[in-house]
C-alpha cells in the first residue's frame, strides 16, 4: 500500500517524537546544555501531545496505517496518556538532575526513545509492532535506571531489569512463535478470528507465554520480584516513568490483544489472569505493609494497583475497556503526583533519594504544599472519595459486581483495607512534629519550582477527576475499542 498524507497525519504523534529524538541527539552532539536539551525534548513531546489532542478533538476516524498500526480513539487516548506521563518525567528529571555531576542530557534522549516505544505499543495491532514497541520501551529503560552509573544501587537495579526484561522478551517471542505456528498469521485480527473459531491447545500455550512476558512488565505476582529493587535503585523520576508510562503502554496493548486478538476466547487464560490479579492484590498489599522505604512501598502498591486493574480486564464485557482506561488514567495522574513529591524531595547529590518514611516526618510543617500534594495523592491511591482513585476503584468494583466476580471483589476489599494501613502510616508521618533534624533538603530553585507546578497541576487534575469525572468519562467513551463480530 502507498502511504498518503492522511496516513502521515494519523501517525503524526509517533513521527513527531521520532523527529524530537533526532533533533535532541544532534543538539547534544552540537552542544551540551542541560536546560536547552530538556526544553527541546519537552517541546517535541508537547507537539506530539498536541497532535493527539487535536485528533481526539476533531474525532479523527479510526485508520489502519499498514497492518502494523491502528490509529483509533483508543490508541490516541493511550498515546496522550503516555505522553503526559513522559512529559511529567521529563519535568521531574530536570529538577532532579540539576545537581547531577555526570552528563545530564542523554536522559531526555533515552526518555523520548522509550516513549516512542510506548506510543508504538498503544497503536500496535500486529505481533511485530507489539514486539518492536516492547523492546523500544524497555531497552532505553536499562540505561535510565542505571543513569547515576557511579552508584551501586541504580546499577544493580538496571542490571536486574536488564536480565529479567530479556527473559520476558524471550517468553514473549516464544509465545508469538507458537501462535504463529498454528495460525500462520501475526495480525491481531487474524489471530482473533483463529481463536474465535476454536483455537488449539498449542496456540493457547503460546498465549500463556505471551501473557508471562507482558506480566513481567506489569509486575503481576508471581513475576513481580524485580519491582521493589528496581524502583528503589532507579532515580525517582525514572521510577515514576516505570510505574506510569511503561506499565500503561503494556496494559494498553494487553487490552487490545484481549479484545482484538481473541484473548477473551481463551477462557482458561482469563481464569489464570483472575488468579494473578487475586495474588497481586493480596501479596502486593501485604508486602507493602512491611516497607519503610517509600519507593519500595510505592512499588508494592503499584503491583496491587495493577491487580485491581487486571480485575477490570478479567471481568470483560462492554464496560471493560472503559474501566481499564479509567483506572489507568486515575492511576497515572496519582502516581505522577506521588513520585513527583518524592523526586522533589530528593537530589542526586545525596548518596540516596529521600525514600525512607522517616525523611518525610513533619514535611507538612516545612513544605506545606508538597506535603499537601502527597497527602492528596496517598488518599487517591487508597481510593478515598473526592479523589481520582475513588473513580477508578468505583469502575473496578462496578464491573466486578456486574461480572459476579465475588472472590475478586473480596480481594479488592481486603486489599484496600490493608492498603489503607500503609498509606495512612506515610500520610500521618507527614504531619507529625519532630523535625529534630532536616534529613534531606533539596535546593529550592527554578527547576524545583517547575517541578512543583507540575505536581500541583497533577493534584488539581486528580481532584477534578474525583469531583467532576463526567468530561473524562466522555473521553473514555469515545476512546473505546469495539470487539469485532
Amino acid at each position: 500500500m502507498t502511504l498518503t498524507s492522511l496516513h502521515f497525519a494519523a501517525l503524526s504523534p509517533i513521527l513527531l517524537v521520532s523527529a524530537t529524538i533526532v533533533v535532541v541527539m544532534l543538539a547534544i552532539a552540537f552542544k551540551r546544555h542541560h536546560r536547552g536539551n530538556a526544553t527541546l525534548s519537552v517541546v517535541g513531546l508537547n507537539l506530539a501531545l498536541f497532535a493527539c489532542a487535536v485528533m481526539i478533538w476533531i474525532a479523527h476516524p479510526a485508520m489502519m496505517v499498514t497492518p502494523l498500526f491502528a490509529v483509533d480513539g483508543y490508541a490516541l487516548f493511550y498515546m496522550a496518556l503516555i505522553l503526559v506521563a513522559t512529559l511529567a518525567t521529563a519535568t521531574l528529571s530536570h529538577a532532579y538532575l540539576e545537581g547531577f555531576k555526570g552528563e545530564k542530557e542523554e536522559m531526555y534522549l533515552l526518555l523520548c526513545l522509550s516513549a516512542l516505544g510506548g506510543l508504538t505499543l498503544a497503536c500496535a495491532t500486529h505481533f511485530a509492532s507489539l514486539f518492536i514497541g516492547f523492546e523500544l520501551l524497555s531497552v532505553p529503560l536499562y540505561a535510565m535506571i542505571a543513569y547515576p552509573v557511579k552508584n551501586r544501587r541504580p546499577l544493580e537495579g538496571g542490571l536486574k531489569y536488564l536480565v529479567l526484561s530479556a527473559v520476558a522478551s524471550a517468553f514473549l517471542l516464544f509465545g508469538m512463535a507458537l501462535i504463529y505456528s498454528q495460525t500462520g498469521q501475526l495480525g491481531f485480527a487474524e489471530v482473533g478470528a483463529y481463536f474465535a473459531a476454536g483455537g488449539s491447545s498449542i496456540a493457547v500455550l503460546g498465549g500463556a507465554l505471551l501473557l508471562i512476558g507482558l506480566g513481567f512488565k506489569l509486575s503481576l505476582v508471581p513475576f513481580h520480584l524485580w519491582t521493589p529493587d528496581v524502583y528503589e535503585g532507579a532515580p525517582a523520576p525514572v521510577a515514576s516513568y516505570l510505574a506510569t508510562a511503561s506499565k500503561t503502554a503494556i496494559f494498553a496493548v494487553l487490552m487490545r490483544y484481549f479484545v482484538e486478538a481473541g484473548g477473551y476466547y481463551q477462557a482458561s487464560l482469563v481464569e489464570v489472569l483472575g488468579w494473578l490479579a487475586f495474588a497481586s492484590i493480596l501479596i502486593g498489599n501485604v508486602l507493602a505493609v512491611r516497607q519503610n522505604n517509600v519507593k519500595r512501598m510505592l512499588a508494592y502498591s503499584s503491583i496491587a494497583h495493577f491487580g485491581y486493574c487486571m480485575v477490570a480486564l478479567v471481568a470483560g464485557g462492554p464496560l471493560a475497556v472503559e474501566a481499564v482506561g479509567a483506572y489507568l488514567l486515575t492511576y497515572v495522574v496519582t502516581s505522577i503526583g506521588a513520585f513527583g513529591v518524592v523526586t522533589l524531595s530528593s537530589s542526586p547529590m545525596g548518596e540516596r533519594d529521600a525514600d525512607v518514611i522517616y525523611d518525610y516526618r513533619g514535611l507538612f510543617w516545612r513544605r506545606p504544599y508538597l506535603a499537601s500534594i502527597l497527602t492528596a495523592m496517598l488518599l487517591s491511591l487508597a481510593g478515598i472519595p473526592l479523589t481520582a482513585g475513588f473513580i477508578g476503584k468505583f469502575y473496578v468494583v462496578a464491573i466486578g459486581v456486574d461480572a459476579h466476580l465475588w472472590w475478586l471483589m473480596g480481594a479488592v476489599i481486603v486489599g484496600s483495607g490493608i492498603g489503607l494501613y500503609y498509606y495512612l502510616r506515610l500520610m500521618v508521618s507527614l504531619f507529625l512534629l519532630d523535625p529534630s533534624k532536616h534529613r534531606f533538603s533539596a535546593p529550592i530553585d527554578w527547576a524545583q519550582r517547575i517541578g512543583g507546578i507540575m505536581t500541583l497541576l497533577a493534584m488539581l487534575l486528580m481532584l477534578a477527576l474525583g469531583i467532576f469525572p463526567q468530561p473524562f468519562i466522555h473521553l473514555l467513551q469515545i476512546s473505546t475499542i469495539i470487539p469485532p463480530g
Binding site: I384, L386, V397, V401, S416, F431, P469
Partner: protein, 510 residues
C-alpha cells in the same frame, strides 16, 4: 439550593479558617469556625421554623419538604440529589448544634495548628450534613467515606496518647480501616442494587427514589441488605464490631469525641432508617430478630464494660455502645412508637453524650488525667462542674423528665408488641445504666479529696453557657418532646408503612 449551601458552608468556612490562620493570626480560625457553624445552625433552625414537615407520603412515595437535584455523572445516572424531611432536618440541626459546641469546647484545648484543626472539624461536619441530606446512593457513599478523612486527622494529630493505650495513631488507623472496609462492602451492595435495577428496567440510576421500588428475589435482597447492614453496624457500633469505638474515643480530642459520639454514630442509625429498611423491607423484617438480639447484647455488654473502666472517656464511650443498642432495637421493631423513640433517643444521646465528653475534656484540662482512680473528691474542689456532670449522668441513666427517658421509654413501648422477651432484656439495660452512671459520679466526685489538694479553676463563662444550653435542650426534650415528634412523624410513618407491610407478610404484627 439552600440544601447545597448547608453542605457547602462548613467546607468554605473550613478553608477560610485554614488559610486565615496564616494571614490574620492564631485566634482567627476559631472565630471563623464559630461564625460558620452559627450560620449553618441558624439556617437549619430557620428551615425548621418555616418548613412544613408533616407532608404525608403519596402512594408510598416519600415527600420532601425541600428537594434539589442537578445531574452530576449522567453516564451512571448519578445526580446531586438532596432532600430534606423531618428526620434529616432534626439530625442536621443536631449536627450543627454539636458543631458549635465542638468549636466552642476546643477554644482553649487546641493550641497548635488551629487553622488545620478547624479545617478538619468543619469538613467533617459538612460531610455529615451531606450524609443526612443526600438522596443519591453514590453521593451517600461518597460523603460517607469522605467524612472519615478529617476525623482520622482529628484523632491522629490532636489526640492524646493516654498511658497504657496503644496511641492515637493506632486508634485513628483502626477507626479508619474498620469504617472504610465496611463502607466498601456497602459499595458492593449499592452496585448490586443498581445492577439489579438495571437488569429490570434497562436504566442505570443511583437515585434513591428510583431504586425504592426495585423488586428483588429474597436471596438477593437479603445479601444486599446485609451489605448495607454491616457498614451501618460497624458505625453504630453493634457489639462484635464495636472495638474501634473505645480506642477512638479515648484518644480523640474533646471535639473529636463530641463529633464521634454525638453525630457520626447517628449517621449509621440514619442510614438504616433511610436506606436499609425502605430499600430492603422484606429482608430487614426477616433479619429483624437477629438485629434486635444484637441490640440487646450491645446494651448489656456496653453496660457491663462500663463498670470495669478506669478511663472516664472509655466509660462514656461504652455507655454509647449501650445506648445505641436501644436505637438498633427500636429501628428493627419498626412500630411507629419505636421509630419515634429512636429519633428522640438519637437527639437525646447526642446532647447528653456530647455534654459528658465536653465535661471529660474539661476535667482533663484541669487535672491532666482521665483516670477515675486518680480523681475522687472533686465535688469539694469545684463548685459548678460536679453538679452539671451529675445532671448529665442522670440524663444518661434515663431519668424521667429528661430526653433520654422519652427515647428509651418509647422504644421499649414500641418493641413490646413485637417481642416482649427482647424488651424485657433491653429494659434491664436501664438498671445497669443507673449503676454505671452513679459509679461514674461516685468515683469521680465523691469521697474525700486528697490532702492538701488545691481548689481547681472552675468552669468559665464559655463553658458554663455551653452546658446551660445543653441542659435546657435536654430538659425541653424531656418535658415537651411533642415538637420533635411532630416534625419526624411523617418520615417515621413512611418508614413504618413500608416496613410494617413487610413485617405483616412474614406474620409479625404488633
Amino acid at each position: 439550593m439552600i440544601l447545597l449551601w448547608l453542605i457547602l458552608i462548613p467546607f468554605i468556612g473550613g478553608l477560610l479558617a485554614w488559610q486565615g490562620e496564616r494571614v490574620v493570626g492564631r485566634g482567627f480560625p476559631r472565630w471563623i469556625a464559630l461564625a460558620t457553624m452559627l450560620i449553618a445552625l441558624g439556617i437549619s433552625v430557620w428551615l425548621w421554623l418555616v418548613g412544613d414537615y408533616a407532608l404525608p407520603a403519596v402512594g408510598g412515595v416519600p415527600q420532601w419538604a425541600i428537594e434539589y437535584q442537578v445531574p452530576w455523572i449522567p453516564r451512571f445516572g448519578i445526580s446531586l440529589h438532596l432532600g430534606l424531611d423531618g428526620l434529616s432536618l432534626l439530625l442536621v440541626v443536631l449536627t450543627n448544634l454539636l458543631g458549635v459546641m465542638a468549636v466552642a469546647c476546643s477554644w482553649r484545648e487546641i493550641d497548635r495548628n488551629v487553622g488545620f484543626f478547624h479545617l478538619n472539624l468543619l469538613w467533617n461536619l459538612g460531610g455529615v450534613v451531606g450524609v443526612f441530606l443526600t438522596l443519591d446512593l453514590f453521593l451517600f457513599f461518597f460523603l460517607w467515606e469522605m467524612m472519615l478523612v478529617p476525623m482520622y486527622f482529628l484523632i491522629a494529630l490532636w489526640g492524646h496518647n493516654s498511658p497504657g493505650g496503644k496511641g492515637r495513631i493506632y486508634a485513628a488507623t483502626k477507626f479508619f480501616i474498620f469504617t472504610q472496609v465496611s463502607g466498601l462492602i456497602m459499595l458492593l451492595a449499592i452496585l448490586g442494587l443498581v445492577l439489579v435495577h438495571y437488569q429490570q428496567t434497562g436504566t442505570i440510576s443511583f437515585d434513591y427514589m428510583v431504586l425504592l421500588k426495585t423488586v428483588m428475589s429474597p436471596q438477593v435482597e437479603m445479601v444486599l441488605m446485609l451489605g448495607f447492614f454491616i457498614a451501618f453496624a460497624v458505625k453504630t457500633p453493634m457489639v462484635p464490631l464495636h472495638s474501634w469505638l473505645p480506642d477512638a474515643h479515648s484518644q480523640a480530642p474533646t471535639a473529636g469525641s463530641v463529633d464521634l459520639a454525638g453525630i457520626l454514630l447517628k449517621t449509621a442509625a440514619y442510614g438504616m432508617l433511610r436506606f436499609a429498611l425502605p430499600l430492603f423491607p422484606n429482608a430487614s423484617a426477616q433479619f429483624a430478630p437477629v438485629a434486635m438480639w444484637f441490640g440487646v447484647v450491645g446494651i448489656l455488654y456496653g453496660a457491663f464494660l462500663c463498670f470495669s473502666q478506669n478511663d472516664i472517656k472509655r466509660l462514656v464511650a461504652y455507655s454509647s455502645v449501650s445506648h445505641m443498642g436501644f436505637v438498633l432495637i427500636g429501628i428493627y421493631a419498626g412500630t411507629t412508637q419505636a421509630l419515634q423513640g429512636v429519633v428522640v433517643q438519637m437527639l437525646a444521646h447526642g446532647l447528653s453524650a456530647g455534654a459528658l465528653f465536653i465535661l471529660c475534656g474539661e476535667i482533663y484540662e484541669r487535672l491532666h488525667t482521665r483516670e477515675l482512680s486518680k480523681m475522687g473528691g472533686l465535688w469539694a474542689r469545684f463548685p459548678y462542674l460536679p453538679p452539671i456532670a451529675l445532671f448529665f449522668s442522670i440524663a444518661a441513666l434515663g431519668m424521667p423528665g429528661l430526653g433520654n427517658f422519652i427515647g428509651e421509654f418509647l422504644i421499649l413501648l414500641g418493641s413490646w408488641p413485637i417481642s416482649p422477651l427482647i424488651t424485657i432484656f433491653a429494659s434491664s439495660g436501664l438498671v445497669f445504666g443507673a449503676v454505671y452512671s452513679l459509679i461514674l459520679v461516685q468515683r469521680a466526685f465523691h469521697g474525700a479529696p486528697a490532702d492538701g489538694a488545691p481548689p481547681l479553676k472552675d468552669l468559665g463563662k464559655r463553658e458554663l453557657s455551653m452546658m446551660a444550653l445543653l441542659m435546657v435542650l435536654l430538659l425541653a426534650l424531656g418535658l415537651y418532646p411533642q415538637f420533635v415528634l411532630d416534625t419526624s412523624a411523617a418520615s417515621m410513618d413512611q418508614v413504618h408503612s413500608i416496613y410494617g407491610a413487610a413485617q405483616a407478610l412474614i406474620g409479625v404484627t404488633p
